[in-house]
């Protein structure tokens, strides 16, 4: 047995030491939240439990500030028989025809990409790909929507190349074509660049997977990379509170490094297991690691779960149970498997050179129990972590400068009048970083792997063939405009939705579904909360008008430095279906003599 810290904080210890001071505030919990945890458990939480609650009740995992507004999507979404899985799942799933379905989602990895641009962006791509796998789909393409500060700011020279390198490196190595995206520069993103990544996958409808840990006696398997100390920065206060640290200064990095090769193996192994019907439930390990995967699968299932944490293969020495639970190591998936099939699951992953380990069992206790070397360190109702987190009704107030902005109208700007001025305006626009050619970026991305990319950059939307025999395919566009949303978040969000919708439609595809990534400042600022509420309402109303549902998305708050928030930046992905990709309409002018018409208003 590896050396066990005698000071390990078990449920028994917690019972015996109710008055132990705990660093809940340092972990981002509020006093009343901490008291609620004590009520739920009927005692003080152990260190591991405290770590789990602080993670699951964070803004990122619990959507505590956004939840009341996001409900609108469910309420206003048009009903469509195409929708096979919607909001609340890892990613929304829509039917293409009687046989196939696609799943797609856009997610942010903004702050990590500022701290360490290459790895932050790379792991963002990796994370969204695992969401797609978890639904049962083969990922078939990625897209990226990027916002940076001023192009000539020295820090942009650090962030931009790293982000592009990370997205390219991860997508290229894992073998997914990049079929489009956006790149904008604005000083408001200087300290808060936005890195939003979208992935789309395809599956036979019968292969749709669930995240339920159901079936008492079923085995819980952790598959993929070893668990290291990646990204446990916050939780490290627990350790330093009880024993002094001796190790090197770099012992607790907050940065995760991605390994696209392992991710590629995860894709192949998972799909093989799904096709063979070897999996009961599956969940990817994302930002909140095992904590999130264990509590969500257990909460979605019908009973409880028992886990022996010391079985988790570790990359670092001396990890405490709360470290293992909080680790954000990449390229891991959790599988729920019939014990009679466990051996075959392990064999199939080993054949690909992928680690897979039985770490627990599904139980009927209604509790998530985690033991570490035989001592119980977690014993909680899983729903209290996954579904019963705090919900806030944050105050909302219209920004004071809205009137000021409204009177500063484009019509008041000087117009070019002479030929020379018009010429100069055209040149200025062509040279503007937001309009100029982006091939410096896009040619660092593979666009043709899989041999199904029918349209990629520089077209209005990416078009991918799904089935070689029928020619059926999909089109996707990803669009956002923070400047419009700053002027009027309701209309601005709708403009982005309309732009993505149009970009899909002009390829010849019929739009059928929406995914969104909502990038905003701090929810504790009532002005930001107002922007958020307006943007969500705009999207929900727009989706209703257009007759296509919002199937999922992601909220990124706290994109702000001091009191300065970024422009509210809802980024919208629209997915369309095209019966025969051979009939797609590319960008550009046709032949000499063709008529040019302008339609619309």
């Amino acid at each position: 047995m590896s050396q066990l810290n005698v000071a390990i904080d078990t449920v028994g210890v917690a019972d015996a030491t109710p008055d132990e001071k705990q660093p809940w505030a340092e972990l981002g919990l509020k006093e009343d939240e901490y008291q609620r945890i004590r009520e739920i458990l009927g005692r003080r939480p152990t260190q591991s439990e405290l770590a789990m609650y602080s993670i699951m009740w964070s803004e990122h995992c619990s959507y505590k500030s956004s939840r009341v507004h996001l409900r609108q999507f469910g309420e206003k979404n048009p009903k469509t028989p195409r929708l096979l899985a919607g909001i609340g799942e890892n990613a929304g799933v829509v039917a293409i025809d009687e046989n196939i379905a696609v799943t797609f989602k856009v997610e942010s990895h903004n702050h990590p990409s500022y701290v360490e641009p290459k790895q932050g962006a790379a792991t963002g791509v990796g994370g969204i790909i695992r969401d797609i796998i978890a639904m049962g789909a083969r990922p078939i393409a990625v897209m990226d929507s990027l916002r940076f500060g001023a192009i000539d700011h020295p820090d942009t020279a650090r962030v931009l190349p790293g982000v592009v390198d990370g997205i390219g490196h991860y997508g290229n190595c894992v073998g997914l074509p990049n079929i489009g995206g956006e790149t904008y520069f604005d000083a408001c993103y200087q300290g808060n660049p936005l890195v939003n990544a979208l992935s789309v996958g395809v599956m036979p409808r019968s292969r749709l997977q669930s995240m339920q840990a159901s079936g008492v006696g079923n085995t819980v398997i952790l598959m993929g990379a070893k668990t290291g100390r990646d990204g446990i920065g916050g939780v490290s206060v627990l350790a330093s509170a009880t024993f002094s640290e001796t190790g090197e200064g770099d012992a607790r990095p907050s940065v995760q490094v991605g390994d696209p090769f392992t991710e590629k193996l995860l894709i192949e192994v998972c799909l093989e297991l799904f096709d063979e019907g070897l999996v009961v439930g599956v969940q990817d390990l994302g930002g909140a690691g095992l904590t999130c995967a264990l509590s969500e699968t257990a909460a979605a299932g019908d009973g409880g779960m028992h886990v022996d944490l010391e079985r988790v293969p570790l990359r670092a020495k001396g990890m405490e149970p709360q470290d293992i639970l909080a680790s954000e190591s990449q390229e891991r998936m959790l599988l729920i498997v019939d014990p009679a099939k466990a051996e075959e699951v392990l064999a199939r992953s080993h054949r690909w050179g992928l680690l897979a380990t039985e770490i627990g069992t599904v139980t009927d206790t209604g509790r998530l129990v985690v033991d570490f070397h035989g001592q119980t360190v977690v014993d909680v109702p899983p729903k209290s972590l996954a579904d019963e987190g705090p919900v806030y009704h944050r105050p909302i107030a219209e920004p004071n400068d809205l009137g000021l902005i409204a009177v500063d109208r484009a019509e008041t700007l000087p117009r070019p009048t002479t030929d020379e001025e018009i010429r100069q305006t055209v040149l200025d626009m062509a040279a503007s970083p937001n309009l100029c050619d982006k091939s410096w970026i896009t040619e660092q991305y593979d666009s043709s792997v899989f041999g199904n990319t029918v349209l990629g950059t520089p077209h209005d939307a990416g078009v991918v063939r799904l089935d070689e025999r029928t020619g059926v395919g999909i089109a996707i566009s990803l669009d956002g405009n923070g400047r419009f949303a700053r002027l009027d978040p309701y209309v601005g969000a709708q403009l982005s939705l309309a732009e993505a919708y149009r970009n899909v439609a002009v390829t010849g595809a019929t739009p059928i579904a929406i995914s969104d990534c909502l990038n905003f400042g701090s929810p504790e600022d009532p002005h930001v909360m107002w922007q958020f509420e307006r943007a969500v309402t705009g999207i929900a109303d727009g989706a209703q008008k257009l007759g296509i549902p919002v199937t999922g998305g992601n909220v990124s708050f706290y994109n702000q430095t001091g009191r300065d928030a970024i422009h509210p930046t809802p980024v919208i992905g629209v997915l369309g279906v095209i019966d025969d990709v051979a009939r797609r309409i590319p960008l550009g002018l046709g032949k000499t003599g063709d008529t040019i018409a302008l339609i619309g208003t």
């Binding site: 990379a225 290291g228 100390r229 990646d230 770099d250 012992a251 990095p253 940065v255 490094v257 190591s329």
Partner: protein, 81 residues
């Protein structure tokens, strides 16, 4: 002429996919008793004959250009002056 070698390695707790891949391949070469492989960069810098402050300058280069302090650490050795 001074020759400076800067070794840049990933910090010990950071995943090193290159090292892991090599470790995984060793059994194919018949090597089974290696416990860890870490791969970093070795940078050899040659200064002009009469360069001043070689160590100081090397430290600046390593710190600002060669190593990414978020995930890497470096060590310097000066091989002749």
């Amino acid at each position: 002429m001074a020759r400076v070698v800067v070794d840049v390695m990933l910090k010990s707790e950071i995943l090193d996919p290159q090292g892991e891949a090599v470790l995984g391949a060793l059994p194919r070469l018949g090597v089974n008793d290696v416990s860890s492989v870490r791969i970093g960069k070795r940078v050899e810098i040659e200064f002009d004959e009469n360069a001043q402050n070689v160590e100081e300058q090397s430290r600046v280069i390593a710190d600002q250009l060669l190593a990414n302090p978020v995930i890497e650490s470096f060590s310097l050795s000066i091989e002749g002056a």
